[in-house]
Every structure is written in C-alpha cells, then in structure tokens.
C-alpha cells in the first residue's frame, strides 16, 4: 500500500489576511473582485497592463503571499495548459490563457483572504439577492475546506480496501475507480447539504422578521477603491 502522508485530517479553514482591504465594506471587495474577473475578456496587451496594476493592488493589500500560494496549487494545470496551447495552437494563446487563470486564482485569493461567509451573505443581501440564496451561497463558500477534507477521506478509505490507488496513469483509470470516488462524494455532499438544511431550519431560518446583527457602512476608502476600479475598468475596456 502506498503512503499518502500529505493527507491532512485536521481541518484548517482559510485564514483571513490582515490587510487594509479588510477594513473596507464587503460590497467594495465584491465589486473589486468581480471587476478584476472581467479582465479575462481583455486582449493580451491590456491583460498584461491590468496584471501589473493588479499586482500593485495585491501588494498594497498584503495579499501577494496568499495569491502566490493559490497560483502554486494550480501549477500543474497551468503547465499542462500552457504546453498544450503552445504546441497545438500558438504561444500567444498559451500566454493569454495562463495569465487569465492566474488572474482568476488571485482574485479568488483576494476575496477569500479578506471576506468571511457572513460578510458575503450580508453584502449579497444588501445588493438585493434574496436572503435564502445569499445564505446558500455563503454556506457553499464555507464548505470549500470541508469538501476538500471529505474528498481526501474518501480517497483514503477506498485505498484502504484496494478500490483506488493514487497517482495512477490516466490510461489506467477504470470506470470503477471513478465510481469509487464520486459515488461516496455525491452521497456525503448530499447528506451534508440536508443536515445543514435541518440545522438552519431548527434555528429559525426563513423567519420573516429576521434582523441582521451587523450593519454595513461605506467609508472614504470604499469610495476611493470604487472610483479607482471604475476608472481602470473603463480605461481598459473602452479605450
């Protein structure tokens, strides 16, 4: 049996980064993240300009290390995609696609590193998303790590009975290997979703008189970040 020592069963949720962006309103962070994601539509030259500006933003927000870690996790995907595009299409497309994925990964790091699920829920509510959908989205946001841990636990349990082996070559994968991993994953995810539904209902979810404990307030920094974002997006999209 092969050892999979990297399996980590102690749940370590994503930690919030001590960043000047943490002090802004979550709606500002949401707007910033959505705007940055839109940059994937830009042509290569403008993407490069945007990436430069975005790197400066990440440095100001002290988020470069966490964005770096996020990109490092995707290194194999990036390498394979880059090589595939460079060989079968052309180098420009390879660079563009790679930069876009790097950008999306760092946007994810920015948002996750500065925003709690409760802030996301509140921001979405204030932006007019119905509470039950905002709540579901925030729960999904909260469940990233749990799903990762469960996936690892399934791999381990199937390995223990010889139903799956790690690092198999792609051509050696059988349908049963995929079933051994995906069926338990679907079952566990469905069960977790149902358990959370019951738990939320048991504490009055969907009550019509619900009142949020925390209030959102936009300040001067929010205004500044929003204005700069609007100018940069406007310039890159329309000039």
């Amino acid at each position: 049996m092969q050892l999979i020592g990297r399996v980590r069963r102690v749940h370590e949720p994503i930690r919030l980064v001590v960043s000047p962006l943490r002090r802004t309103d979550p709606r500002t962070r949401l707007l910033l993240s959505v705007s940055a994601s839109l940059a994937v539509m830009l042509p290569l030259e403008r993407t490069l300009i945007f990436m430069g500006l975005y790197t400066l933003l990440l440095a100001w927000a002290r988020l470069l290390p966490s964005a770096g870690r996020q990109i490092w996790r995707l290194r194999w995907v990036l390498i394979v995609l880059f090589a595939f595009d460079a060989i079968f299409v052309d180098l420009t497309l390879a660079v563009t696609v790679t930069l876009r994925i790097v950008l999306l990964a760092s946007v994810f790091a920015l948002f996750v590193g500065t925003t709690t699920p409760e802030e996301l829920r509140l921001a979405l509510e204030r932006l007019g998303v119905p509470y039950r959908y905002a709540f579901s989205l925030s729960l999904a946001f909260l469940s990233f790590d749990l799903l990762r841990d469960e996936w690892r636990a399934i791999q381990e349990a199937q390995m223990a009975r010889g139903a799956w082996a790690p690092r198999v070559r792609l051509r050696d994968l059988a349908l049963s290997d995929l079933l051994a991993l995906t069926v338990p994953a679907i079952v566990l995810t469905t069960r977790r979703a149902w358990a959370l539904t019951e738990a939320a209902a048991a504490r009055g979810f969907d009550a019509p008189h619900r009142r949020a404990y925390r209030e959102l307030k936009m300040g001067r920094v929010d205004g500044l970040v929003i204005a700069i974002t609007a100018i940069v997006v406007g310039l890159l999209l329309f000039l």
């Binding site: 050892l3 069963r9 949720p13 139903a163 069960r191 019951e198 504490r203 969907d206 404990y213």
Partner: protein
Amino acid sequence: MFGVLTADRVAYRYSGNSMGLEPVSIGLQAGDALLVAGPSGCGKSTLARCLTGMIPHLYRGQLTGNVSLCGLDSRSTPLWRLSECAGFVFQNPAAQLVASSVEDEILFGLENLGLARAEMRTRLDEALVRFGLDTLRARSPLTLSGGEQQKLVLAATLARHPPILVMDEPLSMLDSAAAEMLVNDLASVAQAGTAIVICEHRFEPLATLPGLRTLRVAPPHEPSSQAGAVVAAPLSAVPSFSLVVEDLGVSLGQCRVLDELAFQVPGGQIMAIVGRNGVGKTTLLRALAGLQRHDGSVLVNGQRPDLAMVFQNPDLQFFNPTVREEILYGISEPDLERYQGLLQILGLSAYAQTPPLLLSEGEKKRVALAIALMRGPRHGVLLDEPSLGQDAAHKACLMRLARAVADSGRSVIMTTHDLSLAAQADRMALLGEAGFLADGRPGEVLRDSSAWSRSGLKVAPWILAAQAEDALCN
C-alpha cells in the same frame, strides 16, 4: 392537562413505505426531563423530528396523531415559528455548523428571532460565558474539539430561549469528560424551566440528571442482527506473530499529534485504545494501517503488517449497487464460504441484494466490517469507533465477531469512547498527549485513577461496577 409539549399517538411512515415510528404519546411540563430509549432503528430520531416539526415540514411521509408545541399545532404552524418553541440539537455537532466563527454561529439563531441588536448582544455574551466559550468567540467552529462543538451547538440553541429542548443522541460522539459536562449543563437548563427530551441509547451517563423519566420506544420490526448467534471463526488461523511499534511519531501540519509511541500487540489479542476527543486515536490507527506518514516503525517479522481498517464513517467506501458486490469488490477469486459466513455472523444475509446506501447506520458499519474481513488480512483489523450509533445488541454482536477474529490468531485494535465496550477487550490503553498513560488489563486500567485524572477523563462508577461483575463471572 395542558403541557408545554404534547404528542398524542404520534406515528410516522416514511415515503418509501418503511415504518419510522410506532405510535407514541408524550406530555411534558416546563422543567421536565425525558429520556427516549430504545434499540437502533426503533424511531428515536424520527420521534425527535416529529417533536420539533421537522416532520411533517421537511419530510414527505405519512404522519398520524398530533404534536403540540407551546399550544401550537405542528402541522399548521410554520417551521420557523415552531423553532422558537423547540430547539433541536442533532447527533453530529459538526454537521450543523453554519457560520465561520463561534460568535456568528450563536448570532445566526438570534438574527432569525428578529431581536433588537442590544438584546442580541446581551444574549450572545450570556451564552458565551455560560458555556465557557468566551475565549473562543473568534475561532472557527470547525477547529473546535467534538465536546466544544457540542457546547457551541447547545449554546446557539439555548440562546434563543426555547421552552423545549430536543436532543438526538447528544452523547454518541463525546468522551466521558465531555459527556459529564453536557449532563451538568442539561441539569441547569432543566432547572431553569426548559423541558428536555433526550433520544439516546447510551443512557447510563444520564442517570445523574435530576427527575429524568424514561420512555422506551418499541422497534417497528425485529432487529436484523443475529445478536444471539453462535459465532464461528470467519477467517482461517494464522501462525503466531507480534505487531511491534517503535518510536512512532506523527505530525499533522505544525502539530505533533503522536510522539515516540512504542508498544507490541501479539496476535490473538483485542486491544482497545481510549482517550479524549482529538488526542490522536484515529491518527494512530491510520499510521498502523499505513495511511499516514509517520516516524518510527510498525512491523511484523520485520515487514509492514497486513491490517484491514474499518472507518468511522462507512459511507466513505460504498459505491456498488448491492451488498454482495460491495463486499466482493476487487477480490479476483473470492472465498464464497467465508463470504456466506460473514453475512450470517453479521446478520446481513437478508440484505445481500440490497444497495448498501439504503441500510441503517448499524447495518452499514457491519458491511464495512465484512469488506475488511473478506480481504482476509493476515495480521488483523483496525476498528475506528466501531460502536458509534450501535445499541447494546449490536455491540454484543460486534464483540463476538472481534473475539472470533482474535481466536483465529489475528489482532484486533479498536479506538472507542465507549468504556463499557473497551472494558470487554483483552487490553486497554489510555492515550494521552504524552503517549500512553496506562496500558494493561481493562480492570487494572479502569481503576488507575491517577492516569484517568492526567488524561482529563473520568470513569463512571457504573462502568467500574459492571467491569467488576464481569470479572467475577469470568
């Protein structure tokens, strides 16, 4: 007489037409405490859901009889309104956490009550102090221990000041120290006037709850386990050996979980490993199974041992359409005699063609055990919390099977919080943060009060009495 909670001949049938609960009647006044006891599958969890309005609002089966919560009919009142009358704490605390911090977990229920912010702040602070969570308020609930999570869920529920509290198997995942703390908390809750319903088959720790009444729920059908069956050895005998563990150490992230553990387990021995939640019992089993990178060595005759592991959650393993295919999966030339023997011993003969995911939790655990034993591991099996969610009959069945495996010359190593189960092993080892605090015959270990005190656990007097009685009988 009008009560805070009344259930009048309540019965429930699930939409698949399987019986969930035979008719039950309950009447509770403020401050009453009721234990709902009965074997696995008798409908305790179903009753808990009927008493909180989850049934019929979230389930589509057939409910008969009436449930009234604080004078509100459970059928015609919206669920959010019923939740203000009855708080519900589920079996697994980790599965009901909906927030990213301890504080937000408690606030979630308070926000749904629509309270003024000042009132929410007051209740939040009260709940944090009352349950000793004030120093953990910014922590992620998912990083807490099982006992702390149970406290948090209880705090989040009671901060809403429900007149009724319903709990489904609250003790099943707790070690003895956490269980004792929970029982003390419940005593103060009942004293404050909350009516409590506890559905639990580990009822001994609850005996100290003042004024506790017991309602026994009959199973809707006979239990499938052949608890009284004579167990034949399911595996052929193996030559004698000794599992030698030397300088075993495991780090998880920055945390050193196990350090320089050394022990031997001879073939034919049943060893129970006990200890507090989070002390590293499961990590130790995973290291023995070769699933966890570790320092030191785990060897039999100089080689890695062949040990099968049965996980706490059997759902991690099931993906085949029938129990038969699940048990025989991946075995090129299966020993069908062994397969039939295992089905018989484990009370699974009737379910050979049933999809494993449709079985009860107890039955699933037994299928997982059959999967492990069908492989015919040469040196033994590792059982992680095998008694979780099992009633006394199923535990007896499990111990008989463990004994049969040991009789074939193999080792059985199990981790458990259930000291009554551990007391039936040949050897008990109490794991603490600095390694084994005690290791020996269960009777000796259970009486080693200084080791238990260092581990932060307590042995309930009824366990010592039962163990002494068993020793006399043997």
